[in-house]
Every structure is written in structure tokens, then in C-alpha cells.
Symmetry: C2
């Protein structure tokens, strides 16, 4: 059985970078879950003594804190700085970008609009860099907003460009000048197109990821359209020998919260079948 | 018979302004037709000795020249300045705006895209303010363009916002930063919505304008959908008494190249029927 990995799978650039940063900062505390994967969180705890706290008030003075990929609000950063806490910033550079853009655009006199989920930690961080942020998830939410002549817009990094476009189109017809910063990161979509490409070339597809992970389930759906024998597995014990009978080429991809070492474990097991 | 004028009709702001400027500059020459209306051109010739030339080379040294609403290329302006010609600039302020924006955006390092007809005099003027202008009329024309990270776009003033939006959407997904300047002027669309509103309220609609004028014909179509008795007339002799039999309220609108004095002539005649 030949095993082929998708061209793009698993962790995005920002998460890989954050995990490396965490490993280089043992005995630290992460504010919020670094990643939606319990096994990876446990590995960081066991091997690097890295704890996770959910609330900023739980952080001890003089401790070491890691900021996760989502970033944190400016006010929280100031709070940590005042407490004499050692800060290691693993905010994804793609998230830092809209933070900086928003700050600068407001300074230059633009009305700043953030396209995203107002409750998402990333958006909470971005909007903290603006005095009067407007956060919307659809154009309808703009109907009652008094728009200025000069408007700037950024997007939460994980949003779909098609939804962003609808909001931009509305702004376009209702402003004089519009600055659009396409801050969407393609990582999720890269995994999807790679899965699509691979599913066409193989007899069986194994999608590794959490059974409740929405991006993993999306990979499964995409794959199933092109390869009937597509299976979602969380770990080695989910693999079933019968699936592989008579198959020659097995494609493998993984959801965005799946660590490489889990993927390697499963590939090893598949090769032994 | 009661006569009701549309809320918006005839000349746009820029053309009205240009005619006033021309009347204040008798014995001048206009470069290109000021307006697509022979009777108005003749009136300016007869009453103010204003000539029209089609080519810049026809202009005499030491003469007085009027630049029409469309504007002219930067190079032509320099040519005229060097010939010691007195220049009266009637370029529409709404056309000057994209000229200035394009010049400034290129200076700031943006790749400049002009949405419009490359052969239209207005676009010829605008693009002359850019070293490397890209003029497109559809997103398809951008498929082979190597886009930079920072792009700025303006529109020819008379384009439809829906077509502009399609080009913007394409750019949005293919650039990092996009500056959109909505330089579309609503004059044409204002006349259309006013015609629509009026046609609902009257028994008969008279649309004044050239029988070959596309914007006049559009007004007729819009009007006819809401008022069966809609007629296009170019001058008083086109009016037919029979149309008005039993009618109580007559709506009047006019195409974008119809001078007010022609409209007044026709309204006077209608009132006498």
C-alpha cells in the first residue's frame, strides 16, 4: 500500500510557530487554549510543563506567559506588562497585521470596520486597537451604521473571502473612499484544495482529526465527493483493516488542529496494515 | 392640463457649469463637442461666438480655449500652455477627482487601475496622469495583468456601480491592499429614478431628447413600463394634440443632453394644448 500525504494538511503556519515558541519557553503559562486538541495540550504540559489558564486574573505575578496565535486585547497586554510578567508573544503574524492596520487607519482618519465574529478572541484583540471599532458579520449589520466618507476594512483571518466580498460591495456603494485590506489567511482553504486534489488520485482517503472538529468534517465531505472510501479517524484504534482490502494508494490529510506526531503515528500504522 | 417636471432631468451639474463657463468666455473655442446637442452648440456659436474644434492642432496661438467637462490629457494641457493659449477649464470637478487620485496613488506606490472605456475622452484624460495606467472594462481583462500587492482603482464617472463592483471583487481576492475610490457620478441614475417616480403619478409622460440619444431612449423605456402613454419628442413640432385628449396630469423629463430652454419651449407648448 502506497501512502500519499496531501500537499497541505494539519496545523497552519501560525499554530506550528506558536508550538515551537511554546516548546522554547518551558515552565510558562498559555492564556487560553493554544489549540483545540487535548492530546497536544497534554504533551506540552507533560514535556514542557506548560499550563493553560482561561482567565487573565489567574496569572501569577513574575510568571512567564505565552500569548497564543489569536492575540489578546491591547488592554490585557498593558495589564500583563504592569504586573511584571514575562511575555512571550506567539500571536500569529497574520493576526498582528490587521491589529496594526486598524490602529494606523483610525489615526489617518478612516472609519474602521472589522469583518468577523465579535465574540472571537482574534476579533476581540483586533478591535482593541481601535477607539471606535465597528464589527460586522454581514452587510445587513451595516444598514444602520452612519458611514463616513473614508472607510477602511479588515477581516478576521479565518473568514471566507466570498462573505467578506459582500460586505465590501455594500461599503463600496456607500462610501467615497474605501481601503480594503485582505487579511484573510488561506490556510484552511489550502488544506481543502489539497484534499480535493489528492482524493481524485487515490483509492482510499484517511482524514485525521477530531470527530467534532468542523474543519475536519469539511475535509471529509470534500473528500467523499471524489473518493467513496473516505474515513475520518481520531487515532490509530479507529483504523479498520477491512477498509484497505484491495486498495493500492491511500491518501492522508488532517484537520487544522491535528499535530504532526499524531499524523505520523497513524501513517505508520497504515503502512503496517 | 397640469404639467409636472421630474425632480431630476436634463443636464447634469457638470454640463450646466460648463455652459455657464462658456457663456462667461465669449469668443472662445471649445476643444471637442461640449454636448451632444446641435441646437445648443449653435446657440453658443450665434450668441457667444463660441466655436468648436475637434483637434488640438487646429487651435490658433494666442486664442482662448475652453476645456469641456471630459477634461483633456495632461500632455495636451502642457501643449496648450506652451502655445501661449488662454485656457478656461470647464472640466467637471467629478472628473478632476479621479485624475488627482490616480496621480497621487501612483506616487504613493500603488498600481493604478482605471475602470472605464479606454477610448472615452474622460478616460484618456484620467490615464494621462499615471505613468503605467491599466484601463479595464471588465474583470476578465485583469486575468493576464500581474497585480501588485497594493492596488488603487477609480472609475469613469458615467459607469454603472454594479459593473465596477465586479472588477473590485476580483481585485479584492487577488491583492493584499486595495484602495477603492468610488468616483461614479449618479447624475444619469438620478434622472432615471426621478422618471420612474413621476411616471407613476401622471396620465401621460413626455420625454424630451434626441431620438438617437441612448440615455433618452432609456428614460422612455423606464417611463413606458409605468405609464403607457409615454412619448419621446425632440422639439415642439413632435407634439401631437391627440395624445393629451382626456388627460389631466402630464409628466415631463429630459435626456442628459437637453438644454433647459428647449424643455421650457416644449412645456409652454404643452400648456397651450
Amino acid at each position: 500500500l502506497q501512502v500519499k500525504l496531501a500537499d497541505s494538511y494539519g496545523f497552519c503556519f501560525g499554530v506550528k510557530r506558536a508550538i515551537n515558541i511554546a516548546q522554547d519557553s518551558p515552565n510558562s503559562t498559555i492564556l487560553g487554549s493554544l489549540i483545540h486538541n487535548t492530546r497536544e495540550i497534554n504533551r506540552l504540559k507533560d514535556n514542557f510543563n506548560i499550563d493553560t489558564v482561561s482567565n487573565i486574573n489567574e496569572i501569577q505575578e513574575n510568571s512567564s506567559i505565552i500569548i497564543r496565535t489569536h492575540g489578546i486585547p491591547k488592554q490585557d497586554l498593558e495589564y500583563l506588562n504592569n504586573k511584571n510578567i514575562k511575555i512571550t508573544d506567539a500571536t500569529c503574524p497574520y493576526v498582528k497585521k490587521p491589529q496594526k492596520i486598524c490602529e494606523e487607519m483610525e489615526k489617518e482618519g478612516y472609519q474602521v470596520i472589522i469583518f468577523g465574529d465579535i465574540k472571537h478572541p482574534e476579533v476581540k484583540g483586533i478591535k482593541s486597537y481601535v477607539e471606535e471599532p465597528i464589527v460586522v458579520i454581514s452587510k445587513e449589520e451595516l444598514y444602520n451604521v452612519k458611514l463616513k466618507d473614508k472607510v477602511a476594512i479588515v477581516s478576521q483571518t479565518t473568514k471566507d473571502i466570498r462573505d467578506f466580498t459582500k460586505v465590501v460591495d455594500y461599503l463600496l456603494t456607500n462610501t467615497q473612499e474605501l481601503r480594503v485590506f485582505n487579511t484573510i489567511c488561506n490556510a484552511t482553504f489550502d488544506n481543502q484544495s489539497a484534499a480535493k486534489k489528492l482524493a481524485k488520485e487515490v483509492d482510499i482517503m484517511i482524514i485525521i482529526g477530531g470527530k467534532n472538529s468542523s474543519n475536519t468534517k469539511q475535509l471529509l465531505e470534500i473528500s467523499r465527493e471524489l473518493c467513496d472510501d473516505s474515513y475520518l479517524v481520531e487515532d490509530c484504534k479507529d483504523l479498520d483493516k477491512e477498509w484497505f482490502r484491495g486498495k493500492e494508494v491511500c491518501g492522508v490529510t488532517a484537520g487544522a488542529s491535528t499535530p504532526d506526531w499524531v499524523i505520523e503515528e497513524i501513517i505508520d500504522k497504515i503502512k503496517k496494515i
